[in-house]
Every structure is written in C-alpha cells, then in structure tokens.
C-alpha cells in the first residue's frame, strides 16, 4: 500500500515516515498543498494523509479540488483543529477519516488499516482469503492448517496488496508502484522474486501468473 503524506511539519514527518514504513506502507511525502494536490492526482496512491494547515494551499482546498475532479483517493485528515464544526467541515469536504493532533502512530496506523479495508470492501478486523489469515500487527500469515510464517516487510506489503485486490489482474508495474515509494529502485524482477517467495509459503496455486498481464491472487482454492 502506497501512502501520500502531505504534512509541512518536517520534524513530525521525520518521525512518522519510518513508523509508517515499519508498518508496511510505502510513503511519499509532500510538504506543501500545491505539490500534494498534484501528487494526489497521480493515481498510484492507495491513501492520503492530509494535514489541514499547509503552506501555499490549505488542506481543505486540496481535498475539495480532488473531490471536484472525481478523485476518490481515501483521505485521512490530520489536524490540530479538531473542534466538531471543523471535523464536520472536513468530512463534508470529502475526508474519509479525521484524526486530531497530537496522536500516537498506532492510532494512525489503525485508522489507515481500517480505512483501507473499508474502501476495498474487506470488512472485519483481519485480512483473510480462503485458507489464510494475515496479521497486520505482527506482519505474519497463518494458514488454516496452523502453519505460521513471519513475513519480511516487502513480502508483507505484497501479500497485503494481493489480499486487498483479490481475484484482480495485477501487473508487475502496478505491484511495484504500490509496494515501493517514489525514490525506491524499481526493478520488475524484484516483484517476481517476492512472488516466488510467497508461493513457497502459501502454495503454488494461490498466485496465478497471467502471461503478459501479471498476477491474480485467488480468493478460493479449488
């Protein structure tokens, strides 16, 4: 899952970015509203974390512009102004969730996960597919036969993306877009390596290869 963090407070970003990456998110950062709005229209992000008090363009304006242009990017608003009338205004402008500052990273991560599950129609606490359960906290996967694997960060990112997009054809490019941040060295072969590793753990039939198109993660094993 690739996140866009639009926040002008650099000392906060310095703390928050590694925290989010540790939780298995690829994070791109923008420090002002103008750039943030532009990046949000790129169609490679799964979710945006938007501060409202931004230089150049206020967070509310960024949000309104996105929604006016039919950009339905899920947005968590991050703000020190968390009075109820401001919160209502935020939601009315198109926010999907609202988090008042200061906050704990765990709280933000929990909100991000809940929102991602919601927009991808994966209700309930944990991400599941037929025969396996992903634990996002411990970044581990449990199969129905009781086998338990701890995943590396990249494996976890990849599996989570598969689980949120079950039964859809996902190209290598799309996968690397959503697993790595902007400045990462993208090599489509790396995706192949990680798919192979997942197959070793989850079984060969789970991830199907569509030649020339990409991969499909199957929700049911038949």
């Amino acid at each position: 899952m690739r996140l866009l963090l639009i926040e002008d407070d650099k000392s906060l970003v310095k703390r928050l970015k590694p925290e989010l990456e540790r939780s298995g998110f690829a994070v791109d950062v923008s420090h002002n509203g103008d750039e943030g709005e532009y990046l949000g229209n790129e169609d490679i992000y799964d979710l945006a974390i938007l501060d409202l008090g931004l230089p150049e363009r206020s967070g509310i304006d960024v949000l309104k512009n996105w929604r006016q242009n039919d950009n339905h990017l899920p947005v968590i608003v991050l703000t020190a102004r968390d009075a109820w009338h401001e919160r209502v205004q935020g939601f009315q402008s198109g926010a999907d969730d609202y988090l008042g500052k200061p906050f704990h990273s765990e709280e933000l991560v929990a909100r991000i996960q809940a929102l991602l599950h919601r927009v991808n129609q994966q209700p309930g606490g944990q991400l599941k597919a037929d025969g396996l359960t992903l634990n996002e906290e411990t970044q581990s996967v449990t199969l129905d036969d009781g086998t338990h694997y701890t995943l590396t960060n990249t494996e976890f990112r990849l599996l989570r993306y598969f689980l949120l997009r079950q039964d859809k054809v996902l190209s290598k490019l799309e996968l690397s877009d959503h697993v790595y941040e902007n400045d990462a060295d993208k090599d489509s072969n790396v995706i192949e390596v990680y798919v192979r590793r997942l197959r070793e753990k989850l079984g060969k039939t789970r991830i199907e290869t569509r030649r020339g198109q990409g991969y499909v993660f199957r929700s049911r094993l038949t």
Partner: protein, 449 residues
C-alpha cells in the same frame, strides 16, 4: 418614564381642546356683537324717522303724525317700542300699552345703548338719542326685544359647540394614527433588538428616521466590535492550539522512538504527561471558545447543521446505525451558538457511538426547552458510576480516547446555557446508557404595541 406616545397624545389633545374652546368663545361673542350692531343701526334709523315726524302743535306737548308710524309700534307687546320725552311731556308707543320702561336718567346729550327688562320680562336693547329740534331737547328711546335673537345665538353656540366637538374627535383620532405611524420605526427597532437577542439577526436595520439614526449606528458599531472581538479571540485561540499541538505531536511521536522504547518507565511517563498536556490544552481552549448566550456569531440551525453532523458520525462509525427522531414542528434556528451545539451534539453522539454495539438513537424535541435524548445499546454503566457521572459530569474511562474530555466539554456547554444533563439506563435498549439533555429556550417576550 411614561411612553412617548402617551406624552405626545396628552400634549396634543390638551392644546387642541384649548384652541377649540377659545375659538368657540370668540365665535359666539362676535356673532352677538355683529347682530346687536345691526339691530342698533336699525333702531337709530327708526329713531331718526320718529324725530322727523315730531310735531309741536301745542306748546309743551309733542305729537307724532298719526299715519306715518310703523304698525309694529301699535300692536301691544310686539317687542318694538319707543318713548319720546321732551321736557315734561312723554310720548309712548302704543305697543307699550300702559307700561313704561325702566330707563335710567336721561343723559345730557349724545347717544347710548342700554339693556333693560321690558314688559312681560322681555330683554330689550334700547337705543337712546338726545336731539335738539326747534329749540327743544328731545330724548327718543327706541327698543327692540332680544328674545328671538338670544335664542338664535344660543342655537348657534350649541351647533358650533357640537361641530367643534366632532372636529376635535376626528383630530384626536387622526393624531393617534399619526403618532402611532411616526413611532413605528421605534417599534420596529425594538422588535429587531429582540431578534438580536434571539440571534435571528446580527445587525439593526439602518433605514430609520434621522432622530434614531445615531443610536442605531452606534448600536450596530458596538455589535460589530463585539462580533469581531469574539471572532478574533476564537481565531487567536485556534492558532494557539495549532502552535502548541505541533511540538506536542512531535513529542508524542518521540515517545515511540526506539531509544525511549527501551526505557519503558520513561516512555510511560512521557506518554502520560504529553497526554495530560493535550487534554488540558483541549479543555481550556474549547471552554474559552464556547460563546455562550447573547448575539451569536452564527446560530445553530437544526435543518442546516444536524444532517452533516449525523453524516459525519455515520462515516466515522460505518458499522453502527444512527437512528434520529426529530419532532421539530417547524422550528429551525435555535438561540444557541452553532459551534457550541456542534461540540455538544458531536461529543455526546461520538461517545454513544463508541460504546454502542450496533445502534444509537437520537431524539430531539422542542417544548419550552430543546430536549435531546441519546441512547445506545452498549453495555451501559453500573449504578454507582452512573451516579458519579451525573453528579460531576467528569470522565470515567480515560482509556477510551476523547471520552472524558468530550463529557467535560458537554457539561461546559450545558452550564453555559443553564441547561441540565442526566444519565440513566437506556429504556429503548435492554442495556446501554441514556443521556437526557435539556437546554431552555430563552423566552423572547414579544414587545407590546
């Protein structure tokens, strides 16, 4: 201080009445003077024609040529009389019959008018003239009855009086109407002030008479200043919150740093203290921000502000069902500040949604107060804690984020508007909490006309 209307009314009524009385007096007087003037002129003519017909056939004896006298002087008590005196002899008109006239002593010369009582108690106007003819002094007194004239004048005075009263009445009614109309702007301004109090408007209308203009302008100016000051202090507080929360946010993140994580006690301390700071900032800022009564910046509108709030809560808790029951009966604008009410409803509903398993019900009704009832189907609170909650309105569970602070804000808002809050077990759901909030709608008395 009596009302302007009453003072204007009595003043105008008194002055018009005095004017009409004087007018009536002058008219009756002048009509009498005019009539008597005319009558005396005629009597003088009669007297002169009598003089021309006087004969002195016998010395010491005056006589009139018999044919030449107007017959009215022959008919007994006709109301027209004369008496001619010359030396010792006196000649009376036949109309006098045998009676004389009680005339005062004859003057030496000239002419005068007198009023005397004649025969049959007739009031008479007498014109007495002294002439010299053929070396003799002749006094001719001609009299006419005033009865008829007096009654005509009395009639005139009565009619004039009645007419004057009618005109007076019409004028009074007209004046009441005019005063009422001229004071209308005052009434309107008063109504607008009541509207201000109720928060239905933010400024007074400046389309007022010039006398009222400075007052209204000054009033508006003060209102504007008050609004600005409120807005400024709110903005300043918001900025302060922002400024304080920035480093606090970083501090909160720092406490999760690996170095600090290794020292568990230290981390707990930092987390607890920064949490306390956040709570304090939030509480103080929100309390200072609460507008309270008076001309509000923006009023809470049930129709405008409630749906977005419910929509927001629904988005925050997509798996809970919010059931609103509104009995508004056409009410919309409430005399409460919009932000205060958002804070109140938002917090109380947020709490209910947090604790509910599936459903939260909100009911709003209006009688003499705004009655808000929020119930949830959560696990409820045991009776001891319930009592504590009602008594202090303070936080029970500090672990659920925002819960304690929310209730403190709620009780601040309620206190501000002299309302009440009660916590009881839910009646709608088998378990859960019911919160009753009542905010009195300040009775804006409609100004009497």
């Amino acid at each position: 201080m009596t009302s302007l209307k009453l003072r204007l009314g009595t003043g105008i009524l008194l002055s018009i009445s005095v004017v009409f009385f004087l007018l009536w007096l002058a008219a009756s007087h002048s009509i009498r003077v005019m009539v008597e003037e005319q009558m005396s002129t005629r009597l003088l003519h009669d007297s002169e024609s009598l003089l021309s017909r006087l004969q002195f056939n016998i010395p010491e004896q005056v006589q009139l040529a018999p044919t030449s006298i107007d017959s009215i002087y022959h008919r007994p008590f006709s109301g027209h009389y004369f008496i001619i005196q010359s030396g010792a002899s006196t000649l009376r008109s036949r109309s006098l019959w045998d009676q004389g006239l009680a005339l005062p002593t004859t003057p030496a010369s000239g002419s005068r008018q007198l009023r005397v009582k004649g025969p049959q108690q007739q009031p008479l106007l007498v014109v007495q003239n002294v002439y010299q003819k053929q070396g003799r002094q002749i006094v001719i007194s001609v009299a006419e009855d005033l009865t008829e004239i007096d009654s005509q004048i009395a009639d005139f005075r009565n009619w004039f009086g009645v007419l004057a009263l009618v005109v007076l009445l019409v004028l009074v009614l007209l004046q009441v109407f005019i005063v009422h109309n001229s004071l209308k702007p005052l009434h309107r301004t008063r109504q607008q002030i009541a509207d201000l109090e109720a928060g239905k408007r933010t400024q007074l209308d400046t389309q007022v008479p010039s006398e009222l203009q400075p007052l209204v302008a000054e009033f508006n100016h003060l209102l504007h200043r008050l609004g600005q000051r409120l807005q400024r202090s709110r903005t300043a507080l918001g900025d302060l919150a922002h400024a304080l929360k920035k480093p606090l946010t970083v501090l909160t993140q720092l406490s999760e740093d690996d170095c600090i994580r290794q020292c568990e006690d230290l981390q707990q301390q930092i987390t607890y203290q920064s949490g306390e700071i956040k709570r304090n900032i939030d509480h103080v800022l929100k309390r200072a921000r609460l507008a309270g009564e008076g001309p509000a910046l923006a009023q809470f509108s049930l129709q405008r502000d409630l749906p977005p709030l419910l929509d927001t809560l629904q988005r925050m808790y997509p798996d809970k069902v919010l059931v609103p029951t509104l009995a508004l009966e056409g009410h919309d604008l409430m005399p409460f500040d919009r932000e205060d009410m958002m804070e109140l409803l938002g917090n109380i509903l947020d709490n209910a949604c947090k604790w509910a398993h599936h459903q939260v019900s909100l009911s709003i009704a209006i009688d003499t107060a705004l009655q808000i009832v929020v119930q949830d189907d959560g696990s409820g609170i045991d009776s001891e804690n319930l009592h504590q909650l009602s008594a202090r309105g303070t936080r029970l569970d500090e672990n659920t984020q925002g819960h304690g602070l929310g209730l403190a804000i709620v009780s601040d808002v309620i206190q501000q508007y002299a309302g009440s809050i009660a916590f009881t077990p839910s009646r709608e759901y088998s378990s859960g909490l019911r919160v009753d909030i009542s905010l009195p709608l300040k009775q804006v008395d409609s100004p009497s006309t």
